[in-house]
């Protein structure tokens, strides 16, 4: 009985992970430019592989294996956003064009000597 419940949980987690990985790939194909595609890949891959690793944690025997799997999860959580950031930054520095009607907003402000008064940058640059 208990193993049945566990198997059902594992199945749910596995298919959830599969769903998010598929969403990542569909996003890679459908979205218009490199930045938007990285949105889909950077987030959905982390979540999908995380769910699959969680499913494996439930069925793998032995404490050491579980700890190794959890470490893998931590590494994926740390590395995936860094690589996404690097690819995006490279694309930005090289001047890869964005999708047609995308906005650029400058919400950066500098605090003046006058206390509390905020200087707003011009919109767009």
């Amino acid at each position: 009985m208990l193993s049945l419940i566990r198997d059902i949980l594992v199945l749910i987690l596995l298919f959830g992970g599969l769903f998010f990985l598929v969403v990542g790939v569909v996003g890679l194909i459908r979205l218009p430019d490199i930045y938007n595609r990285l949105h889909a890949l950077g987030k959905c891959d982390t979540m999908g592989s995380g769910l699959i690793i969680l499913a494996m944690v439930l069925i793998v025997p032995g404490m050491t294996n579980i700890i190794k799997l959890l470490l893998m999860e931590v590494f994926i959580l740390a590395i995936n956003p860094v690589m996404t950031h690097l690819i995006t930054k490279t694309a930005y520095v090289r001047g890869t064009p964005m999708a047609d009607d995308s906005f650029v907003i400058n919400a950066y402000y500098e605090e003046d000597e006058d206390e509390g008064e905020l200087y707003r940058g011009e919109g767009g640059y």
Binding site: F19, F20, V23, V26, G27, R30, L31, P32, D33, Y35, N36, L38, H39, A40, G42, K43, C44, T46, M47, G62, M63, T64, I67, K68, L71, L77, A78, N80, P81, V82, T84, H85, T88, K89, Y92, M98, A99, D101, S102, F103, V104, I105, N106, A107, Y108, Y109, G121, Y125
Partner: protein, 176 residues
């Protein structure tokens, strides 16, 4: 024995911090290796001492010491908990946008202020922006943060984000 002397220096400069790091790493090592022979123990001890030597970059303050307090750990745990929730939300947002037939996106870049000083908190915060709904960190120089958003709403959502306050708290409590 150049390495030896360096190690001794590190331990002399900051005894508690070094021992703390060493103990944490040893526990991790023993959990991974899964057996407690003296050979495993000795190998682990040597390797973890080397790691302790190279640890300097991460959790030290200006004097080269590793320090933290319980308040910081509590804040960090709270931060990670909220981050998990945000990651969950982000994935459903992306799934909704990608799978809906009309694809409701209005992408673009936004420049923002960021007043975090320490490298560790900066990295953590930039990574969490990448992992959360509809935003990617493109660039982070000094206090200027460049964020790409999938929709205008998400891009502006970064400006007054509640995780930023927790991060700021974390950084300020480190100064004491």
């Amino acid at each position: 024995m150049f390495l030896n002397r360096l190690l001794l220096q590190r331990f002399r400069r900051d005894l508690t911090g070094s021992l703390l790091i060493l103990a944490t790493l040893m526990i991790l090592w023993l959990l991974i290796s899964g057996s407690a022979d003296w050979q495993h123990f000795a190998t682990g001890l040597v390797l973890m001492m080397l790691l302790t030597l190279f640890w300097n970059q991460m959790t030290v303050d200006e004097q080269g010491r590793t320090r933290f307090n319980w308040h910081q750990i509590k804040l960090l745990l709270r931060y990670l908990g909220f981050l998990e929730l945000e990651i969950l939300k982000a994935n459903f947002v992306v799934a909704y946008i990608v799978l809906s037939p009309k694809m409701p996106i209005s992408p673009g870049l936004i420049v923002l202020n960021l007043n975090l000083k320490r490298d560790l908190t900066r990295v953590l915060y930039a990574n969490s922006i990448t992992l959360t709904p509809g935003t990617i960190t493109v660039d982070l120089e000094d206090d200027r943060l460049l964020v790409h958003g999938m929709t205008k709403h998400h891009a502006f959502g970064v400006r007054n984000w509640y995780l930023y306050d927790i991060m700021k708290d974390l950084e300020e409590s480190a100064a004491e």
